[in-house]
């Protein structure tokens, strides 16, 4: 297999459409309709509780950081605030973008807009980008959200632990959108009717950033930027740490989420920040199930899935050697064993796309 072309406009994108890898039927574990309806059931209560806690903590940490400004004692509060701003908002963007976090639509939309702003992700562009990620998960040339391409650009991933490339790219796109332009790749997945909304959102953001910068100049302090903007750098590490584990080192160009997605059991703090997206195979197989029901979904279908990684550390012990090996051999990937109770991998769905499995 030749070098991969991850561009949405390249040869692999065309190949995926021609071979039927794009917009294909995917494998799903069988779950009785009655049980699935119960799992999909929406509720406002868990997300209201978590959102009050999230914003309450953000106000508290930022308030303590401001009160202690000028002293090193403020540092831990800014670091905690940063993780909520630059990482917890990633999962809020995700869940509210799906519309599953709250039962009430406007609550999803409101938190979604705030989260998009914090993560510097245009609310229109990224809604459509993520729809494509679910249509064509880790299909080369079709999925715009592949974190670890092959060969993996480890420097890029490390820089993004500090938000450097993602945030700078987000602000660059914001200015581009505010001027009424979309990136060429983005035009492949955003309908024309949605483009004005993307431009308007970017223009509102520019106004907010200008106001923040003016305030910083007037005060002669970076403090306003510690509240808005900079946490996207110093708080990004947690969402990159968990996000890298979602698909990295696993198969590309397959039509069975058990082959290209990873479930990792995590500590309760990370699960709050990540809003249970550690159950990632489950989420991709059944995106209708809200975050608070994913542990139950995991229990329901785990007989049909590879065993989950037992911790973030254990998952990295699995992933890092694969990524390092992919630097030399980009066709290498990890194919995990299924339990005896599982149905076999649906390799017939994507047979031609498979490379060299790990042993």
């Amino acid at each position: 297999m030749g070098a991969r072309d991850y561009s949405m406009l390249g040869a692999d994108a065309k190949r995926a459409v021609e071979t039927g890898l794009s917009a294909a039927e995917w494998y799903h574990t069988s779950v009785p309709r009655k049980e699935m309806k119960a799992l999909m059931k929406r509720s406002d209560q868990p997300a209201i509780r978590d959102t009050i806690l999230l914003f309450g903590l953000m106000v508290g940490f930022a308030g303590a950081g401001i009160a202690l400004w000028g002293s090193w004692w403020s540092a831990p509060f800014w670091l905690a605030y940063g993780v909520l701003y630059g990482s917890a908002m990633d999962s809020r963007w995700h869940e509210c973008g799906h519309g599953t976090a709250f039962r009430t639509g406007w609550m999803n939309d409101w938190v979604y807009q705030v989260a998009c702003f914090c993560m510097v992700r245009n609310p229109v562009t990224w809604r459509w980008s993520h729809a494509r990620h679910h249509t064509d998960t880790i299909i080369v040339g079709r999925d715009p959200e592949i974190v670890a391409m092959r060969p993996p650009d480890l420097l890029r991933i490390v820089l993004n632990f500090f938000g450097i490339l993602d945030a700078l790219n987000g602000w660059k796109r914001m200015l581009q959108n505010a001027a009424g332009h979309l990136d060429d790749e983005e035009t492949t997945f955003i309908p024309d009717s949605e483009k004005p909304k993307a431009f308007n959102a970017a223009r509102i953001w520019v106004l907010i950033y200008v106001a923040t910068l003016v305030l910083a100049v007037v005060l002669g302090s970076i403090l306003p930027l510690m509240v808005i903007g900079l946490p996207r750098f110093f708080g990004a590490w947690h969402h990159v740490m968990t996000g890298v584990l979602q698909h990295s080192g696993l198969a590309e160009d397959v039509l069975d989420h058990r082959l290209n997605s990873r479930t990792v059991l995590m500590n309760p703090v990370s699960r709050f920040i990540y809003w249970n997206m550690n159950y990632h195979v489950e989420h991709h197989m059944f995106p209708m199930v809200p975050y608070h029901a994913l542990p139950k979904l995991h229990e329901t279908i785990k007989h049909d899935l590879p065993a989950p990684n037992q911790s973030i550390f254990e998952a990295y012990v699995e992933v890092l050697p694969v990524l390092i090996r992919q630097l030399r051999n980009e066709n290498y990937f990890l194919k995990r064993s299924l339990p005896a109770t599982a149905k076999p991998y649906r390799e017939d769905l994507h047979l031609d796309a498979l490379g060299t499995p790990a042993e």
Binding site: A23, R33, M36, K37, M40, R42, H98, G99, T100, R103, G105, R127, W128, A131, H134, T135, P191, S193, E194, F286, P287, M288
Partner: protein
């Protein structure tokens, strides 16, 4: 001329749920609302033609199982991205225990 087709029994659909109904080379979704009314739409989502049969009925909306786009199944109106185009709806009547759709 449109004709009435016997699609299913009332009891085939749980309250606030839907079933798939195939007829010839066409596929439909038939809904039972929380207030015990019946409705019919095309079966495939207008976004990427995923069948709605595995979707979630909440009040008077159907949510697509793939990308969470929503429609009002009474009118077919697209309510939430990524769906932009409305869903075709069809007349429904109930005769005794049977649900009939006009297609």
């Amino acid at each position: 001329m449109n004709q009435w087709i016997d699609a299913c029994a009332k009891g085939d659909i749980e309250e606030e749920d839907l079933i798939r109904f195939d007829h010839g080379d066409r596929t439909f979704a038939i809904y039972r609302s929380p207030d015990d009314e019946f409705f019919c739409t095309d079966g495939l989502c207008t976004h990427e033609e995923v069948h709605l049969e595995d979707g979630l009925v909440m009040d008077h909306t159907i949510e697509c199982p793939k990308h969470n786009g929503q429609f009002d199944y009474r009118t077919g109106k697209a309510l939430r991205a990524p769906v932009c185009d409305n869903l075709q709806t069809y007349p429904v009547k109930v005769e005794g225990d049977r649900v009939l759709i006009q297609i």
